[in-house]
């Protein structure tokens, strides 16, 4: 007996974003990276987490943007913020001081210990691909209470060891964050377009703990560049609700563009 392939009325990017949004609790403070993290955080604030306190590295604290910001320093972030502070202040007095509950990051390359590379693919001195670089990520990964990573799943992105550690996840395993003086707990969830990975409490290695509806464990393994461990019974992500999809599409659809 073969399973009939069901067609969903949402995309893999959409369930990734919805799953990421659900990772944010109401009332949390969240340091938001641009791109997918920003979409997910704004979705959370418009659904289950109306008191999510969003902070962007451009210095906008407690911002409530009327539409999705197009860049990290979009004017819509400043207009609605509790306060707008300078870049040194956002990093020193807010992030470094340990005031932010969750950091929301993307990645170009991610390894089995959730270390992040956004610098180069290949050798640093003679790179195959030159990526944008660190931005705020190293200190977001170091100082937020925890880190949630959103990244599309592929064997090119999910590698055994990143070519360059731009931002530390769990280093090479247990005790590394403490040894490095990193105060936050580090990545607690990696949310992809296929499922959810979490660090094993003992080894700190990323383990597949959940899959999105219609995704098989073998598909996730094939899209992962190391021998991915899987929990006994991976959870299946609840499907996006009509309300979640409606808000998400109002944020990202063509009508949201100015």
């Amino acid at each position: 007996m073969t399973t009939a392939t069901r067609t969903f009325d949402w995309t893999s990017d959409e369930i990734m974003t919805v799953a990421a949004a659900r990772a944010l609790g109401d009332g949390m403070s969240c340091f938001v990276g641009i791109g997918l993290p920003s979409t997910a955080a704004n979705l959370a604030r418009r659904t289950h987490a109306p008191d999510l306190w969003m902070i962007y590295e451009s210095g906008t604290l407690g911002t409530v943007p009327a539409h999705l910001p197009l860049s990290i320093g979009d004017g819509v972030l400043a207009e609605s913020a509790d306060a707008v502070v300078s870049v040194p202040e956002v990093f020193n007095l807010w992030l470094q001081a340990g005031r932010i509950d969750v950091g929301f990051l993307g990645a170009a390359q991610l390894d089995r210990y959730a270390n992040i590379n956004t610098t180069v693919i290949g050798d640093y001195a003679d790179p195959e691909v030159r990526l944008p670089g660190a931005g705020g990520a190293p200190e977001i990964a170091a100082s937020c209470g925890e880190v949630v990573i959103i990244v599309r799943h592929s064997a090119r992105a999910f590698v055994d060891r990143v070519d360059f550690v731009t931002s530390v996840g769990h280093g090479r395993g247990p005790g590394d964050r403490e040894r490095l003086g990193l105060r936050g707990r580090g990545p607690t969830r990696v949310i992809t377009d296929l499922g959810v990975l979490e660090p094993d409490p003992d080894t700190r290695e990323l383990v597949l703990t959940g899959v999105h509806p219609g995704v098989t464990v073998d598909e996730v393994r094939a899209a992962t560049g190391w021998d991915l461990k899987v929990v006994e019974t991976p959870a299946v992500t609840p499907e996006p609700t009509a309300a979640e999809l409606s808000v998400l599409r109002s944020l990202t659809g063509p009508e949201a563009r100015r």
């Binding site: 641009i34 590295e57 451009s58 210095g59 906008t60 197009l70 860049s71 990290i72 320093g73 979009d74 004017g75 972030l77 400043a78 707008v84 502070v85 300078s86 870049v87 040194p88 990093f91 020193n92 992030l95 470094q96 610098t119 640093y124 003679d126 790179p127 030159r130 990526l131 944008p132 670089g133 660190a134 931005g135 705020g136 990520a137 190293p138 200190e139 170091a142 100082s143 360059f164 550690v165 731009t166 931002s167 530390v168 280093g171 590394d176 964050r177 490095l180 003086g181 990193l182 105060r183 100015r258």
Partner: protein, 276 residues
């Protein structure tokens, strides 16, 4: 104090200088960057937290020998192809790279503005930035024994920023997302500010930063000088311009044509004095 942009650049920026054009997404001094290209300046060490299309253009035009930065991309679009080309193939000239995190760069400017030789931060620990950048060191707290990161002060020869307004004396006012402009200006030996307009009196605005005239060397009136970025209260970001840059920057020939067009056009400020 108030001078046309071409004169101000000629006076303040010289070959080999360390030059910072700052503005965190907002108020990017794009026209000043174009004028640096037009004047054919060379061997610059360009400093900027977020090199975007203005630095892609300056790098493609061959102005820079080194880039000091923390995030280099075309925000919301993708890569900076001229930057990539210079780093990976050395076209049109090799580009040395010194890279930091945003927190590191912000603290380097802050130390520079504060007259300190270095800054201390919780940062970089465990990252490969440490091994690839000799300007990141470790320092031990003399009270607790904790190890922290140290980065050297950044003191550009020239900082260029764009602001909404200045008064006739050269006091400068900017607001909205204020970024790193104050620290970058106060860290520099010389400061050029391009502004949307010069007014008689700077009416106070909530969230404003005021740079007193005594730390400003030249003000140039360049309306729209931050486009395609935006000037809060004046104009919005031109997202199409960022997107369309991708195709131009991706191709050396298309870029070379763009550059020829730019350098052929006389700067706005001197148009009236130029023969046809």
């Amino acid at each position: 104090m108030i001078a046309p942009l071409d004169e101000a650049i000629a006076e303040l920026v010289h070959d080999g200088d360390t030059v910072a054009l700052e503005g965190f997404t907002h108020l990017i001094p794009v026209e000043a960057g174009h004028e640096i290209i037009r004047q054919g300046l060379r061997h610059l060490t360009l400093v900027r937290m977020t090199p975007d299309i203005v630095y892609d253009r300056m790098i493609g035009a061959g102005c820079a020998r080194k880039l000091v930065f923390s995030w280099g991309g075309n925000p919301g679009v993708g890569s900076l192809h001229r930057f990539r080309d210079a780093v990976t193939t050395g076209w049109p000239v090799p580009l040395e790279v010194e890279e930091h995190s945003h927190a590191g760069m912000a603290n380097r400017y802050l130390a520079g503005a504060s007259g300190l030789p270095f800054a201390v931060l919780r940062g970089y620990s465990g990252t490969d930035l440490v091994g690839h950048n000799p300007h990141i060191k470790t320092i031990t707290c003399p009270f607790t024994g904790q190890e922290l990161a140290a980065v050297p002060a950044l003191n550009p020869d020239v900082t260029v920023i764009h602001a909404q307004r200045a008064d006739r004396a050269g006091n400068v006012q900017l607001w909205g997302i204020i970024g790193i402009q104050k620290e970058a200006a106060l860290a520099a030996d010389r400061v050029l500010v391009t502004v949307e307009e010069v007014v008689d009196t700077l009416e106070p605005v909530p969230g404003q930063v005021v740079l007193p005239a005594r730390v400003v060397d030249r003000v140039s009136v360049v309306p729209g000088g931050a486009a395609p970025s935006y000037a809060h209260g004046y104009y919005e970001r031109d997202n199409e311009a960022y997107k369309s840059w991708d195709a131009v920057g991706r191709d050396r020939e298309a870029f070379t044509r763009w550059l020829a067009d730019l350098t052929a056009a006389a700067p706005a400020a001197t148009l009236e004095g130029t023969a046809p």
